[in-house]
Symmetry: none
Subunit: 209 residues, 4 copies
Amino acid sequence: MTTRQRQRLSEAERRAQILRATIAVVAAHGLDGASTNLIAEQARVSKGLIWHYFADKNDLMKQAVLAALAEIQRKIAAELDLSMPVPDLLRSAIRWVAAWSTANRAVLTATNQIARNLRLPDGTPAFSLADYEELYQLQEALFRRGQEEGWFREFDTRVMAVTYQGAVDAMLGYFESHPDVDTDRYATTLADILLAAMMSGRSFTQSGA
Amino acid sequence: MTTRQRQRLSEAERRAQILRATIAVVAAHGLDGASTNLIAEQARVSKGLIWHYFADKNDLMKQAVLAALAEIQRKIAAELDLSMPVPDLLRSAIRWVAAWSTANRAVLTATNQIARNLRLPDGTPAFSLADYEELYQLQEALFRRGQEEGWFREFDTRVMAVTYQGAVDAMLGYFESHPDVDTDRYATTLADILLAAMMSGRSFTQSGA
Amino acid sequence: MTTRQRQRLSEAERRAQILRATIAVVAAHGLDGASTNLIAEQARVSKGLIWHYFADKNDLMKQAVLAALAEIQRKIAAELDLSMPVPDLLRSAIRWVAAWSTANRAVLTATNQIARNLRLPDGTPAFSLADYEELYQLQEALFRRGQEEGWFREFDTRVMAVTYQGAVDAMLGYFESHPDVDTDRYATTLADILLAAMMSGRSFTQSGA
Amino acid sequence: MTTRQRQRLSEAERRAQILRATIAVVAAHGLDGASTNLIAEQARVSKGLIWHYFADKNDLMKQAVLAALAEIQRKIAAELDLSMPVPDLLRSAIRWVAAWSTANRAVLTATNQIARNLRLPDGTPAFSLADYEELYQLQEALFRRGQEEGWFREFDTRVMAVTYQGAVDAMLGYFESHPDVDTDRYATTLADILLAAMMSGRSFTQSGA
DNA sequence: CATGAATGAGCGTTCATTCAT
DNA sequence: AATGAATGAACGCTCATTCAT
């Protein structure tokens, strides 16, 4: 039993270190299996330090999600040009997510785990549907723009938004359990399928215009 | 305090009783809150009896999922006429699942909870999308039949199968968090979207044939 | 590390065993030092069993006090004849408590510790002054009877009751830190002192009547 | 977040500052709730500094009590004229303590808490009635003087000293739980009672002398 | 076969104490 | 001398699992 080397880091570094460990442990063992013991071990830090920086386990988990999402948003905003034609934008987005996910599997897995399963002490979900709602509305706005600009046929944008998210989630899940799949090929194929669903009965009209 | 009536049931009945209780408790309290104590209580059975019929809690949970799925498959097989034209068949299947889910919310919730979160002792997921393999292949066979019969354009049947499942799962999840939605209307709309994706660029050819 | 012999006892026996252990540990280590670990060890019982029989540590402590008080009340009621002349009754009571305390030091110490220090989760005392209030009123009634029957002079019965309790408590505390003292002699002397306080200026009147 | 001003104080000042904070925190949160964190915060001092001046938490608590008692003794010595007739002296002392206690409730509460509950690491009490020994002897000397000067009858001075202390302690406790009581009236009444106990069978002799 | 008393590993959390700065 | 980040032992409590009855 070797005594741990005591090192002093800045608050920001330690928090980041612990949050990273949290994501890693949740990805490997699930939210339920992510004991603070395991997290401290993964972070190479003593058990008690977690409570120096986080109020409780819920706080830790919540901050892990928020930090990860902020990071993703920063990246995607830097990557995608929202002024592209809508079909190209969707195709790019799907391919970008596919590529990002293979490089950030743990973050993806863990974030989903926590977002879906974290509960407040009173048993109610810590993250609500309201958070998804915002995403759906952004998506719907995009679809409507596609319709207005003549790319897409008429369809129920809410159902399409839910379906779109479901298809992307399924893709990411499929990647996880089929590590050998060609992810960019899959993403391109999925984009074709979804765009076909949106443009169907339009394409020739479009070309005739 | 009345002593419980010691009743002798066949093994099959006991197992079913306990499995039903498991689903009910998971639906009510979440996988995490589903202690074996609660399950035994719900099944009106002593704590110890569970270990007579199941190896451990993981075994219990796994079997609860498998039993529920077998039940669903039996029902859907009895309900759908596989000889229908493929598009009609898909449309019927989606509407049937939507209808079934509203009447069996608890089973659905619990099954999803367990399938998504159950972990082996080493922390790895007990179920993965790999378990969908059989389902994917059935689905792909259907799509190929649709293509051969001229209903559908060419597309990657595997990606379509994953997407189809993802879209249906997303629908069910959406129902769960939006209890007021008109489920049959949603199901019909989703069927339109998916069929559009499959038939796109074909419909007129088809009609022209 | 030997495995403990597993023995099954009736609920009543186990509860009593654990409550006895609780009193013993609190007497030896104070309420604060009475960890459930120590109590389980003292009771030769596994940690977890405590929560089989008691809701939580507070419940355990509360029940330990209540059980001990019930026992004492049973004994004292069986011992003292309330119809005796009041001075004799007080003298008997003091001597009885002194004798009882030497044979039940642990119960006394522990009961006091818990009664004085136990807090509800919200921080408020678990035992209130209202409990003492009842005792005070019984005592006052006795003093008033003594006054009415001509044994005692006029005095403020409430102050006398508080003083009486304080003097008895001090006696018990003194016994604890001075194990060699002749307890019955002390008790008799204390009775003399207190009775002198109550009868002063009366005795000759009394005899003169 | 302002950095604390690093100030250099003399050792004595620092110690007093921390001891005062200790009393305040114990009074406010109980001995059990008096974490060193809280004490450091109250003293406007860093966590670590406490260990510079005190060996451990027990040492801190013990010294807090001793410092408070020394303070009280200094005050009472300055207040009371020991050459008064003994009965008047006792009456004055009781009234003085009663008055002091209402103005110094926090110190009283905290001191009692610590004195009654502080334990050595092995679980045995850190203070005991044995520590009253010195006080008892002073008291006894006073009683003997009262007897020699003909104020008091013969009685066991040790038992009377213990009883006297117990009665005063009970008074202080009663004040704490009954904030509306007229403390000076109580003190006067108590003095009457105790003096009656001491003078009984003497007063008329005295007056007759 | 069936019960539920009993066990003990493991959890989240607190806090006295240490020590690099 | 002074700070507060870091440590780890101990706590109350839960619950899957065992086993005497």
